[in-house]
């Protein structure tokens, strides 16, 4: 301790404590950190516009859309007094709410009808219990003609459903500003008076569709890999001139419309189509027993494999391009036969390409809906077809958002598993 102090003095202005210092005396480490920090700040500022753009136009809208899966302000906003009055009512008790609730409903609906928002609430509650939308539409027409006093009788006269306990239970159950209702529907479940239970068997669709979407996407990924690997190998090992030519053929489908490509498969695969005609002509099959290759899972897998094949070939090709030929040559000179050289030496080096291609194809196919809609019939449609239905036809955006959130979570989970098993740093696009 004392000796360092002496050194300190003897060296003059520069403190010698074993720390490297810059000319002005600040420790070099500190200077470096500062410089690095400045560097980081500069690069952050450089990407800031892009980051902001992505946040505003990509992350925020998606988050907003996904938030709809739990949001349920509409009940409280449309009939606030009723919700408040209904809080006193015990849904287990076998009696209708009292006159105060009916009066509150009358006051609420009077305002809602004037603003024409009561039918919107009806549509929302109709998702949970069918008949609600008609109930609110009908009552809305009658509300102006209601007299003061004995609202209960007047409401029941307007529509007998107001005298049904279940109507009130549904309103009460869904009066909170947040709801798990959409997520429950998305998992084929519902909350009844007895708690959460699965829907009756003849109404369950979504779990089955999630399962089918995953298994068929895996099947599509595997068939893309089986078809794409030899093509990529060929492309990577042909002379540049020929391989460029072939590469154009691989990219050709990108230049045709998706709908045209899908419809072309219809022409080829249908029962009176080209392939069946040919097979009948060469007497391989009988005219009465033509093959069913479309409007089922086979059709979806064939058409989607064709559409997604380039996404498998391109990363495979660019990885194979970088594999130096002398590894295989070395293996062979050490006595390996063709298969061993390929399987033990060449193939492991293509794994990053396989990983990248498989992830690309899998994620694209999980969200596809146009092709399954056109060639999938009933057994080949995906969960995204139902999401599209709820977005554009039924306007049940809450359920669509819940289904979308679950799909996103599933993909992330699979991504995580992939990272654990294969390792994400093992993925290479080129």
């Amino acid at each position: 301790m004392s000796s360092t102090n002496e050194d300190h003095v003897s060296n003059g202005t520069m403190p010698d404590d074993g720390i490297m210092r810059a000319a002005d005396g600040t420790p070099l480490k500190q200077r470096l950190a500062k410089a690095l920090r400045r560097e980081k700040l500069r690069s952050f500022l450089l990407i800031a516009p892009l980051l902001l753009f992505i946040l505003l136009t990509f992350v925020a809208p998606i988050a907003d859309m996904l938030f709809r899966s739990v949001e349920n302000n509409i009940v409280e906003d449309t009939i606030p007094r009723t919700v408040e009055a209904l809080a006193q009512w015990d849904p287990e008790y076998d009696q209708l709410p009292d006159e105060a609730v009916f009066k509150a409903l009358h006051d609420d609906l009077q305002i809602a009808v004037a603003e024409r928002i009561h039918t919107r609430l009806g549509s929302r509650l109709n998702y949970e219990s069918s008949g609600m939308s008609g109930l609110f539409r009908k009552t809305g027409r009658r509300i102006k003609r209601m007299d003061e006093g004995d609202y209960k009788a007047q409401f029941i006269a307007a529509d007998k459903d107001w005298g049904d306990l279940e109507t009130w239970r549904v309103i009460r159950r869904f009066s909170a500003p947040y709801t798990a209702g959409y997520f429950l529907s998305a998992a084929d479940a519902e909350r009844t008076s007895e708690g959460i239970e699965l829907k009756p068997e003849n109404e369950r669709v979504y779990l089955m569709l999630f399962g089918r979407t995953l298994t068929m996407s895996i099947a599509i990924t595997i068939s893309c890999l089986l078809l794409g690997f030899p093509i990529a190998y060929l492309l990577a090992h042909l002379p540049l001139k020929t391989s460029n030519m072939l590469m154009i053929l691989v990219l050709l489908p990108f230049w045709t419309s998706l709908l045209v490509r899908t419809s072309a498969w219809k022409v080829l695969l249908q029962q009176q189509g080209v392939i069946n005609d040919f097979l009948v002509w060469i007497r391989l099959i009988d005219d009465a027993n033509r093959l069913v290759m479309i409007n089922n899972q086979t059709g979806t897998i064939i058409a989607m494999t064709h559409i997604l094949l380039p996404f498998m070939i391109l990363p495979l090709f660019s990885v194979m391009k970088t594999i130096a030929p002398y590894y295989v040559r070395a293996a062979k000179s050490l006595g390996a036969n063709d298969w061993t050289a390929f399987w033990r030496v060449y193939f492991p080096q293509t794994v990053p390409g396989i990983g990248a291609g498989a992830i690309l194809v899998f994620i694209l196919s999980i969200g596809y809906y146009i092709t399954p809609e056109l060639v999938g019939g009933t057994s080949g449609i995906f969960i995204s077809n139902r999401i599209a239905y709820h977005i554009s036809s039924s306007l049940n955006w809450g359920l669509a958002a819940a289904l979308g959130t679950i799909l996103l979570a599933l993909v992330m989970l699979l991504f995580y598993l992939y990272d654990k098993i294969v390792g994400i740093d093992n993925v290479k696009l080129g």
């Binding site: 024409r116 928002i117 039918t119 919107r120 009806g122 549509s123 109709n126 998702y127 069918s130 008949g131 609600m132 939308s133 008609g134 539409r137 068997e201 003849n202 109404e203 369950r204 669709v205 089955m208 569709l209 249908q270 029962q271 009176q272 189509g273 409007n295 809609e373 019939g377 009933t378 057994s379 139902r386 239905y389 977005i391 554009s392 036809s393 039924s394 306007l395 049940n396 955006w397």
Partner: protein
């Protein structure tokens, strides 16, 4: 040269039986001079442009932009409304979508007697359209029907031809694949009709769990022979390719397969289900644009204009007063009357679609139907 154009102009004006002069059209005060009209595209949009938009532009000088987004109009209107930037002025939708848009507060409420033109004999619009005014936001335009077409050259049928709807469920006499729409609407009703349920009872039966099960059980008897379609163009294509022997679609699509493409296909009008297509005006328009939209709609749905549209497409006008004015097809020169779903010979047995009932039960039954399809 000048003479020739004059002659052509004269010929064109003869084609329009009753040309409207600008004096007859009431002026539009405080109106926008540009508007966007949304419709379905294809032959249907063309018929509207020829019958409504071109004469309207010629009379008023309004610039009309045509958009072909009707099949996604419901979702887009909601998105536009939430963003507070509605870019459409008049939108063509089917009646069930109009009900949904009206419920969601996305369509303007219309007063038929003040917003729509009366018939030439003075009958108010509310009576002229009658019970086709299925929603307070909806302005009916045409009546179309979902009905069956069948191939007239099927060897296995031994010269028999289907005459009633139940032939669809009769695999013994009429073997072969059929195409049906991939949704419960219409299919459940037809199934019940052919399972011994009286026409008036259909919706009462469907109201119950057992009724839905009964309808699905009837459909199950032909399930493995059905190709399910989701776009109206599919059945005509499947029929033309011989992929199916009969199939349901919109009657106008079958008209073009039979008359324009000359395929060996015939109409089975039995138990056709009438449906409506018409205009709605979106909410959230500025005052000038709203005035313009109302002015256009009033013109485009008057008695003569609705009859004019039938020259270009085989859909029946929604006004009673238009029916006698329906003439010949503008290009094919065939009499359009017998091709209208509303023609007495075709409308011997029709089924009335219950809008209110479907508005309430559509989501529920759709889930059941999809689950059944997937089994």
């Amino acid at each position: 040269m000048k003479m020739k154009t004059l002659l052509m102009a004269a010929a064109a004006s003869v084609a329009f039986t009753v040309p409207v002069t600008s004096e007859e059209l009431e002026p539009c005060d405080n109106c926008a001079d540009e508007m966007t009209i949304v419709s379905w595209g294809g032959a249907y949009s063309n018929s509207q442009i020829k019958a409504y938009s071109e004469p309207y532009s010629a009379l008023t000088g309004v610039k009309i932009v045509n958009d072909e987004s009707s099949n996604e109009a419901v979702a887009k209107l909601r998105a536009m409304n939430e963003a507070g930037n509605v870019t459409w002025d008049v939108v063509d939708v089917v009646a069930s979508d109009a009900i949904r848009l009206c419920d969601e507060g996305l369509a303007e409420v219309i007063d038929p007697d003040s917003d729509l033109a009366a018939a030439p004999d003075g009958t108010p619009a509310s009576e002229d359209f009658g019970d086709l005014l299925v929603s307070e936001c909806f302005i009916p335009q045409i009546v179309y029907s979902t009905t069956f077409g069948y191939r007239s050259d099927v060897a296995e049928w031994n010269g028999k031809e289907p005459t009633d709807i139940c032939a669809v469920f009769d695999l013994e006499n009429f073997p072969g694949k059929r195409s049906l729409e991939k949704r419960p609407i219409n299919n459940l009703e037809w199934a019940l009709l052919c399972d011994g349920v009286a026409k008036d009872d259909v919706y009462n039966v469907l109201e119950t769990e057992e009724g839905v099960a009964q309808a699905l059980a009837k459909l199950a008897t032909i399930k493995d022979q059905v190709v399910w379609w989701s776009a109206g163009a599919e059945t005509p294509q499947l029929l033309a390719d011989g992929e199916v022997v009969m199939g349901s679609t919109y009657n106008g699509r079958l008209f073009s397969v039979i008359e324009e493409q000359d395929q060996p296909v015939k109409m089975l009008w039995d138990a056709q289900v009438f449906d409506l297509d018409g205009w709605i005006i979106p909410t959230g328009l500025s005052e000038e644009r709203l005035n313009r939209a109302k002015h256009y709609v009033k013109f485009a749905t008057d008695t003569q204009r609705l009859a004019d549209q039938a020259k270009y497409i085989s859909y029946g006008p929604a006004r009673q007063s238009s029916a006698p004015l329906v003439g010949k097809h503008a290009e094919l020169g065939i009499e359009m009357g017998p091709h209208m779903p509303t023609d007495p010979a075709n409308a011997k047995n029709t089924f009335l679609y219950n809008y209110e009932w479907w508005a309430d039960n559509r989501d529920d039954l759709d889930a059941k139907f999809q689950a059944w399809l997937a089994q």
